[in-house]
Symmetry: T
Subunit: 145 residues, 12 copies
C-alpha cells in the first residue's frame, strides 16, 4: 500500500506563520506523524510540497504508476486550478482532498473547491488530524479494491 501526499503553495510555511488559522505544527512534523501512523497500518507514504501549479500537475500524473491513493492539499490552487482537477481526473487514482482549516468558515472564495468533484471525499478543518484521518481513509479505500 503506497500513498502519496501532495501539498500546495505556502504549506511549506506551516507552523511559522498565521498560527491562528493553520496551527503551530510544521509540515515536517505532520509528515512524521503521518509516516508513523501509516507504518502502523502497513502503508508507505511519500510527502511533497510545491508552490508551482504545473509541478503539482506533473507529480499527480507521475503518481498513477507508483501509488495506490493520492492525498491532496492543493491549498490556494484548490479554488483556481482546473489544471490540477484535470490531472486528478486523468490520473485515475482514488484521491482524498484535505485541508487543515475549515475552508467553509473563511472568505467566500475559499468555499468552492474545483478539485472536490473529481475526488472520492474531503476531510477539512481538523488541522494536522485531517492528514491522519486521510491515511485511515486511504487504507480503507485500498482495502475495498
Amino acid at each position: 500500500m503506497k500513498i502519496i501526499f501532495l501539498n500546495g503553495p505556502n504549506l511549506n510555511l506551516l507552523g511559522t506563520r498565521e498560527p491562528d488559522i493553520y496551527g503551530q505544527t510544521t509540515l515536517a512534523q505532520i509528515e512524521k506523524s503521518v509516516t508513523e501512523r501509516a507504518a502502523m497500518l502497513e502503508a508507505q507514504v511519500e510527502f511533497r510540497q510545491s508552490n508551482l501549479e504545473g509541478e503539482l500537475v506533473t507529480w499527480i500524473q507521475q503518481a498513477r504508476e507508483r501509488f495506490d491513493v493520492l492525498v491532496l492539499n492543493a491549498a490556494a490552487y484548490t479554488h483556481t486550478s482546473i489544471a490540477i482537477r484535470d490531472a486528478v481526473a486523468a490520473s485515475g487514482l482514488p484521491t482524498i482532498e484535505v485541508h487543515l482549516s475549515n475552508i467553509h468558515a473563511r472568505e467566500k472564495f475559499r468555499h468552492q473547491s474545483l478539485i472536490a468533484p473529481v475526488c472520492c471525499g474531503q476531510i477539512v478543518g481538523f488541522g494536522p488530524l485531517s492528514y491522519l484521518l486521510a491515511i485511515e481513509a486511504a487504507v480503507s479505500l485500498i482495502a475495498k479494491k
Copy 2:
C-alpha cells in the same frame, strides 16, 4: 467521552434505496460499527434519526448538557436550514459535519452547506467510513480540551 450522532431526513432509508449513491449499508449497521469503534476508543455514542427539522433543532439544543461532541449528518437540511445552523452555534458543542456521498460531485444545490461554517470540520464522501473517521476526530477533539 460521550458523542451524539444526529441523522437528518431520509437517512432511515439507508441501504434500501438508491444504493448507487448512498451504498448498501443500513443506518442500523452504521450505528453498530460506530458503537464498536467507539468502544475501542473508550467513548460512548448515541444515535438518532429524524425527518423533522425542528426535532433535530431540539436534539441539538439538548445535546449540549449531556455530550462532548456532536456528529451531524443533516442530509437535505444541510443546504436549507438556518435553524439547525443556529442550534449548532447556540449549543457551543464541537460539531463535525459528515456526509456519506461526495456532495460536491452531485447537484449544484448540494454543494453549499449552511451548517459547515459553524462546525469544526467536515468529512464527506467516504460512505459509512465517514462516520468512523468522525469518531476518531471527535475523540481527538475531546482529548485536546
Copy 3:
C-alpha cells in the same frame, strides 16, 4: 390501483381563505370529488394533509410499500424542501406534482419547483380540476406498467 394524495402546508385552509387565488372549494370537497372519480376508474385513493415538512417526508417514505402512485401538492415546501425531493426520489414511486394556482403567474419565488425534476409530470393552475386530471394521469401511468 392505489393512489395517495399528499397535501402540504396551509392547504387545510382551502376554501375559507384567499379564494381569489385558491378558489372556494375546501380540501374535503376536493377529496370527495377525487374519491368519486377514482371509483369510476376503479382506483382507491387516500388523502392526507400536513403542515410539517418532516411528516410529509415520512408519509412519502411509507407510501412506497402501499401505493402505486403519489400525487403531491407540497404547497410552499415545493420551493424550499430538498428533503421532500429526496424522499420522492428515494421512494421510487411514480409521482405527479399538482398545484391549484398557476405558480408561474405568481411571485418569482414560486416559479421554481425543487420537486418537479424527480416527478413524472406536473399539472398546475386548474384549481380542483388539477387533482381530477392527476387521477386520470395516475391511472394511465399504472396501466403502462
Copy 4:
C-alpha cells in the same frame, strides 16, 4: 365547443427521432387520439404544427374568433418567444400549455416558460397523455364559462 391545438418547431418529427425523450408516438397519432377523445366529450378539435414563430403568432391571433380554448405546445419557442406570449395575452383565449417531456428535468434553459404566466394552467411530462388531459381541462374550462 371548439378547441385548437397548436404545435411548435420540431414537433413534426415526433415519433421518429429521440424517442427516449419524446416517445414513439407520431404527431398524427396524437391528433387521432385527441380527436377521438374530444368526440367523446362533444368537442371539435383542430390540429396544426409550424416551425415558424411568426406563423404560430398569426394562428393564435386568428384562433380567438373561431375557438373556445387554445392548447399550446410551443416547444423550443416556449423559452424564447415574447411574441407568442403577447399573442396569447392579446387573444384573450383561455390557454393551456402542454409539454410531452418533463421540461423541469431537462437542461436549465428549458425550466422557464415565458408563456406560462399568461396561460390558465400547464400540463407537462406525461407524453401524449398530456394532450388528452388538456382536452378534459379545456372542456371543463368552457363548461365553467
Copy 5:
C-alpha cells in the same frame, strides 16, 4: 384586545447562549414584561415558542379566530419559510414582525425576510424592547380598526 406572540426556533435558549448577540434576558422574562405592559394597555397576551416550522404554521392558522394581532419572531425561519409567510397571509391577521438583534448588521442571509412583505410592519434590533414596542403598535393597530 388579544395579542398572540409566536417565537421560532432556538428562542427557547434565550438568555443562556450567545448573550453578545441576543442579550441575557430569557424568553420567560420577556413574556413577563410583555404581559405586564399589555395589562397596562388593557390587552391580553399569549406567548408560545416552537422549533417546528409546521407547528408555527398551525398556530398562525388557529390564531385568526381567537386573536386580534399576531406578533411574530420567526427567528431562523424568517429567511427560509414560505410556509409561514403563506400562513400569515392566509390568516388575515394584522401581523408585526419582531427581532431581538439587528438582522441587517449580521450575515447576509439574515438580511432578507420572506415574511416581512405580508406583515404590517417590522421592529428589529432593540432586544427585549422590540417586544414591548410591538405591544404598543398592536394596541394601536386594533384601535384603528
Copy 6:
C-alpha cells in the same frame, strides 16, 4: 424624403385588444395620421407589419436602397432579436425605435432593447403620438445630412 415604418408581431391587433396598454387606435388609423403628417413635411411614408422575425429582417435589408430613414417598432422582437439588430446595423440606415407603451413601466423583460444600441434614438410611451414624433425626428435627421 422617404421613410419606412416597420411594425413587429401583434401590432396588427392594435385597437382591438388590451386597449388599456396599447390604446384604442388601430394600426391603419396610425398609418393614416402618419401619412398626413408626413405629407405636411413633404415626406413619403410606407407602412408594413409582420409577425415573422425573418420577414422584418428582409424588409430592413431591402429598405436601405429605397428609403432615407427607418422607423422601427419591433414589438416583442425588440427584446429577443439579435437578427433584427444585425439587420439594422448592416442596413446603415438612420433608424428610430418607437414604442406605443412605456416599456420601462412594464415587465422587467421589456426594459432592455437589443435594438436600441444600433439606433439613433428612441421614442417610447406616447401611444400613436410616438409615431408622429418619429416623423418629425426622421425629417430632421434627413435634413442634417
Copy 7:
C-alpha cells in the same frame, strides 16, 4: 434627554400626496405628536427635513454634540446613500431608522437599506406610529446608558 429627528427627501410632501402609501398625516402633525409624546417622557425633540443628501450628512455630523439619539427617516436616500451611512457611523450616536411604509412590501430596490447596518434598530411600516415608537425606543436606549 435630547432626540433629533431627521427626515429625507419628499417627506415635506407628506399628507398631501400619495396618501394610499404614506397616509394623510402631514410632517408637521407628526412633529406635533412626537413633541407631545416626548414631553410625557421628559425628552426634548428637534425635527428637520431636507431634500439634500449633503445637508442631511452635515446635520448628522452636528447632531453628535447636541443630542443623545438620532431618529432617521432617510426616505429615498436609505437605498442609495453611503455618505449618510458614513455620517451615522462617524457620529457615534445611537441611531434608530424609521419608515412610514413597509419598505419590504414595495419595489425591490426599496428592500435594502444601506443605513440599517450602522443603526441600533429599525421600525418600519406603522405610519406616523413608527415615529412615536421610535421615541419610546430612544428614551429606553438613553436610559440604558
Copy 8:
C-alpha cells in the same frame, strides 16, 4: 399651457465639452429654440439647471402647482436617484424624460433609468431635437386632458 424643463448635473457645460457625445449646442441655445417652438404652439416654458440632486427634487415638488407638464433630463442622476423618481411620482405631473445622447449605446450603467417607470414617455438620442420633440409631446399630453 405651461411647461417646465429641468436639467441635471453637468448639462450647464453643454456645447463646450465632449461635443462628440453631446453636440456643440449650448444649453442656452437649446432654451432659445425650445422657447421659440413653444411660442408657436402657444405654450410657455421655463428652463432650469442644477448640479444638486436635492435642488432638482425641490423644483419638481414646486412645479406641480405652477406647470402642466414636466420635461426632465436628469442626466447622471437618471441612473442613481430614487429621490428624483419619488419626487416625480409625488408631483403627479405628466413627465417626459429626455436625453441628448442615446443612453442605450453608451456604458452599461447608463442603460437603466430609475425615473422612466414613473414618466409618461421617453425621448432619447436626438440631441437638441429631443427637447423640441418633447414640447410637441407635452402640448399633446395637455390637449388630451
Copy 9:
C-alpha cells in the same frame, strides 16, 4: 459524400456591408470556393441562406435524409434559437458550426452559442476560410464513419 451549408439571417448581405467585420467576399463567392474545394475532395455541396429561423429549422430537418454532414452558420440565431438547436439534435446529422468573425472578440451576447453543444465542432474567426476548413473537416468526419 454530400454536404449541406446553411446560412442564417443577414448573411445574404455579405461583402456589401460592414466589411471590417465580415470581409469583402460575397456569399456567392464563398459558395463558389466551397464548391470547387469540395469537388477536389469528391464531395457535393448545397448552399442555402434564410432570414427565417423556422425555415432553417425545416431545412435542417429535411437534410438528414439527403446529406451526410451539415455545416451551419446560424448567424444571429446562434445565440437565441433553441429551435435550431433542437432541430440539429433531432436531425442526428454530424454538424459543424462556422462563423466568419471571431464571435468571442465581439459583444458579450455573441460569446455563447446555444447550438455548439449539439455540434461536433466549431470553426470561428477565419473569414471565408472558415467554410473551406469546414469542408475538410466534414469529409474527414464522413470518412471516419
Copy 10:
C-alpha cells in the same frame, strides 16, 4: 503649477472620529503638509471639502479653467456618483483619485470606484501620505505636458 484638492462627505470629521480606519490626522493638518510639500515642488494648492455631491460637481467644473491637476477624494460618493464621474470626464483635467484607507480591504460596496475609469491613476491606503504622493504624481503629470 496649480493643483486643487477636493474632498467629499465626512472628510471634515477626519482625525476626530473612527481613528482606527482613518487615522488621527485632521483635514487641516493634511492641508498643511500638502501645502508645504507643494511649496517645495513649486506648486500651489487649493483645498476644499463638501458634503454635497452637487457642490463637488460644480467645483470640478470650475477647476478646469484655473488648475492644472485635480486630486479627488470623493469619499462615499466614489461608489455612487455618476454625476461626479461625468464632471471629471467633462472637465478634461488630469485627475488623481486618492483614498486614506485601503478601500479594497473594507466592505464590498467600497471596492468599486465609479470615478476611477476617468482618472489617470489611483493612490489608496496610505493615510495622509496618499495626499503627499498625489502631489508628486501631479507635478510629474504637469511636467510631462
Copy 11:
C-alpha cells in the same frame, strides 16, 4: 513559413487516459501528422508541451521573433489564465486556438475561453483533426500577409 504549436497541461497524457473525451491518439502521433501535413504545405512546425503556466507564457514571448503563427491549445489554462492571454496579445503573433474536445459540450467552466478574444480564430471539437485544420489556417493567414 514557421509555425509553433504550444500545448498546455495534461496534454502529455493524450492517448493514454480518458480516451472517450480526448481520443486514443498520443501527442507524439499528432505531432507526426502535423509535421507531415506542414511539409506538404511547405511549412516548418515546432511542437512543445508544458504543465507550467509561466513556461507557456515564456515560450509565447519567445515565439514572436522566430515564428509566423502560433497554434495554441492551452488546455485547462484556457479558462483561467490572463497571463497567457496577455502573452498572446503582447506577442503580436497571429494566434489560432485549438481544442481536441468540444469545450462547449462539457462542464460550464470550460465554455469560456479567456484567450479567444485575442486570437484570430478558434477550431474546437475535431480531435487531432483540429490541429491539421489549424496548419491549413495558419498557412493561409501567412499567405494573406
Copy 12:
C-alpha cells in the same frame, strides 16, 4: 532599509510591446530610476521578474527575512492568484501593490485585485512613476515602524 520589487508575467516585455497601454520604458530602465531614487532616500532595492506564479510565491516567502517592504506588480496574476495573496498575507511584510496602467479603465476582469485586500495600499495608473511613488511610500512605512 531594504525594499524588494517583484514583477509578474509579461513585464519583461515592457517597453517593446503595446506601448500605448504600458508605455515605452523598459523594466531595466524602471529598475535604474528606482535604484537611483532609492539611493537618494538611503534605501536599497532588489528587482526581480518572473512569469511563474509559484516562483513569485517562493520569492515573497523568502523576502520576509531579508526585506522591510515588498512592492508587488503581480500583473495578470493580480486577478487570478489566491496563492500570491496567501504568500503576501503569510509573509507579514508591509506590501504595496503597483500597476503601470489604470486597471480600472481596462477590461472588467482587470478591475478586481485578489491581492489588494492584504496589502497596505495601491498605486495604479502612473506608468513608471507608480514605482517611484511606491519607494517613497515604502520608506515612509518603514519610518513609521
